[in-house]
């Protein structure tokens, strides 16, 4: 049946269409929202006018402020595949992290950067290394670690891409269509005891087996790369044939598990791992982030911890916290699952942008000027539990700009075991004069 085939083909459409259709478009009339009668509508309109006027007053310079001439920024209101960003804990203090930002500060500006990489709406790189460059990098990495390459290939294979190009050209497909259907995801080099992958955006992945795990101690050889990950392919097989990773065994007295590792234990193991693997980072004053939250069943869980440079001005420390991190990954069995390094390319600075204070952001939050993936409206001022300044630097962010991230208790989601859910709400930290679009929550689940 040809319609079945068509249904199957429709199943292959781009992720971006699937995600788009799963969010409520702002301009549609949702039947789930109550119909507004004229009196409440008039009140709502009046409130809107008052709040807009208040916003203008709030955002108006309080004195004769000389605002620098800087390009306007577009706030990314698409949280992509983030899903519902909620953290679970019995109280907010359990969710403290290593962010050096504190509310008591004298920050007036923060730098904003263009994301040097370009990704499509599904998060796949659209520009970057050519297949030949990816293959060359994979070979180069094998060489610097002294690994013998047994096979070198791209995914999809170059021959496969060539066939698709020929077929698409034969039916007169445009260059754009051909390009969209012939993207190479990564190049890989299979070696004796290791596998290397280089992705289009330059990310490097190195998987080591028990025979080659010692190479992790030479991790500094990858320090020229913007981001890389070293994982330990050390597994055991259960009776039913399922494979689980044990990670790299750690010395006696150290255990790094996902679940029920206390904050003190997590800090201790992170300090040990940093001393063993972190020298290449050049960090002089390490800051440690061992944040964790709970699962529904009340198990404290922490997939990873990270280390950052905590030296310099507060601005430097905030940038380091957000853009230069050395991660250590836990396993179920207590071994080290992997190490990754993220050292973002911040060479494309747009400028130092004046920012609002956390208090001003709090007011904007209460007026609905926020972005969130939480599937319900802000429950009220008294539920605001925590605020911090962070940079959103995901693949869908074309600029890396600061936001105030509020953690807000969601009373409707409290569990019988006492666990509370804290939802994340984001308010742009850059002054509104520099924003093309001040977000307004539209009642939809992003």
């Amino acid at each position: 049946m040809r319609s079945e085939k068509l249904m199957d083909y429709i199943g292959q459409i781009d992720d971006s269409f699937i995600i788009e259709a799963d969010s409520q478009p702002a301009n549609t009339k949702s039947a789930r929202r109550p119909r507004i009668k004229w009196v409440p509508a008039a009140i709502a309109a009046a409130c809107l006018i008052i709040s807009s006027a208040f916003l203008l007053i709030l955002m108006r310079p309080s004195g004769p402020v000389d605002l620098p001439d800087l390009p306007k920024l577009t706030v990314n209101t698409d949280l992509g595949s983030f899903g519902f960003e909620g953290l679970m804990a019995y109280n907010i203090d359990e969710l403290r992290n290593g962010n050096p930002w504190t509310e008591n500060n004298d920050l007036e500006t923060m730098p904003v950067f263009a994301n040097p990489h370009e990704y499509d709406s599904a998060g796949a790189p659209v520009s970057g290394l050519t297949p030949e460059e990816m293959l060359a990098e994979a070979e180069k990495i094998a060489d610097i670690f002294g690994l013998d390459v047994t096979s070198l290939y791209t995914e999809p294979a170059l021959e496969e891409i060539e066939q698709i190009i020929q077929k698409m050209e034969a039916i007169g497909a445009s260059e754009e269509e051909i390009s969209r259907n012939t993207s190479i995801f990564y190049a890989a080099a299979k070696c004796n005891g290791a596998e290397i992958r280089v992705e289009k955006d330059g990310h490097v992945y190195l998987s080591l087996t028990p025979e080659t795990a010692h190479l992790a101690e030479e991790i500094e050889k990858l320090s020229a790369y913007e981001s890389f990950e070293v994982s330990f392919d050390i597994k055991y097989k259960t009776e039913d044939g399922t494979m689980y990773s044990t990670g790299l065994p750690l010395p006696a007295g150290y255990s790094f598990t996902f679940s029920n590792t206390s904050n003190e234990q997590a800090l201790e193991i992170t300090q040990y791992l940093y001393s063993k693997y972190g020298a290449f980072t050049g960090i002089t004053t390490p800051g440690f982030d061992v944040a964790a939250d709970y699962t529904f069943s009340g198990v404290l869980t922490r997939p990873h911890t990270f280390v950052f440079e905590n030296e310099g001005t507060l601005t430097d420390r905030i940038l380091n916290y957000n853009f230069r991190r050395l991660y250590f990954y836990a396993t179920d069995s207590g071994g080290l699952g992997g190490i990754s390094y993220y050292n973002a390319d911040l060479s494309k600075k747009i400028g130092d942008y004046p920012i609002i204070t956390a208090e001003e952001a709090r007011r904007l939050l209460l007026e609905g000027h926020y972005i969130t993936s939480v599937p319900e409206a802000l429950p009220g001022k008294r539920y605001i539990a925590h605020v911090e300044l962070i940079y959103r630097a995901g693949r869908l962010d074309t600029v890396f700009m600061p936001y105030y991230r509020f953690l807000v208790e969601l009373p409707s989601m409290e569990l019988e075991n006492g666990l509370k859910t804290y939802g994340a709400f984001y308010v742009p930290a850059v002054r509104s004069e520099y924003l093309e679009n001040m977000p307004v929550w539209d009642g939809s689940f992003n």
Binding site: N27, R32, S81, G83, I171, A173, E177, G338
Partner: protein, 186 residues
């Protein structure tokens, strides 16, 4: 827990990857499966199979969009199960209706024996979707990707059912013309 953390759990072969996936995406996947199978037991089995398929695929895969990745697996598994059980169906179910609607999109030149690579047809459908206005595109994807019943789409977007049917009718006609113009043969 955000998607990156869940993917880290898969990569670390942690059993909690599946429970975290179920916590976060269980209802999303179940809705797709129920739309297609219209049977909660079958849907539950497909959703459980989705988790196992994800477990088998990650690593080596690390999907850029985990939500769409899971939804796609659920859709495929559910449609496969639907096809296996078709002999037991008596017609008139949601997928039978969808198949019959999609018959209208089959290009008239499809009596030729040549078949196209599925990737090429999917590419043409992607290009077609870009030509639509956002509202029509979302309604189309809700109906033919998520297999939402007409009534559910109408409720979701605050439209009448007749408006949804009319939009879908126009979009199907456009798709047929587009596929014909592109020389796509099914």
């Amino acid at each position: 827990m955000d998607d990156e953390m869940i993917l880290d759990l898969y990569w670390a072969r942690s059993e909690s990857a599946i429970s975290e996936t179920a916590n976060k995406y269980g209802s999303y996947c179940t809705k797709i499966a129920v739309n297609i199978l219209q049977n909660s037991e079958d849907a539950e089995e497909c959703v459980n199979d989705t988790y196992h398929k994800a477990w088998d695929s990650i690593p080596p895969q690390r999907p850029a969009n985990f939500r769409a990745f899971l939804g796609r697996i659920t859709r495929n598994l559910s449609l496969n199960r639907y096809k296996e059980q078709r002999t037991q169906k008596r017609g008139g179910d949601n997928i039978t209706l969808i198949y019959s609607e999609l018959e209208e999109c089959i290009p008239s030149n499809s009596n030729v024996e040549t078949e196209y690579e599925s990737g090429l047809v999917a590419g043409a459908i992607n290009s077609f979707l870009l030509t639509l206005d956002k509202e029509s595109r979302i309604v189309f994807v809700r109906r033919y990707w998520y297999a939402d019943p007409i009534q559910a789409i109408a409720e979701r977007f605050g439209m009448s059912e007749s408006k949804v049917k009319s939009m879908l009718f126009r979009t199907r006609k456009k798709l047929r013309a587009y596929l014909e113009n592109e020389g796509v043969i099914l």
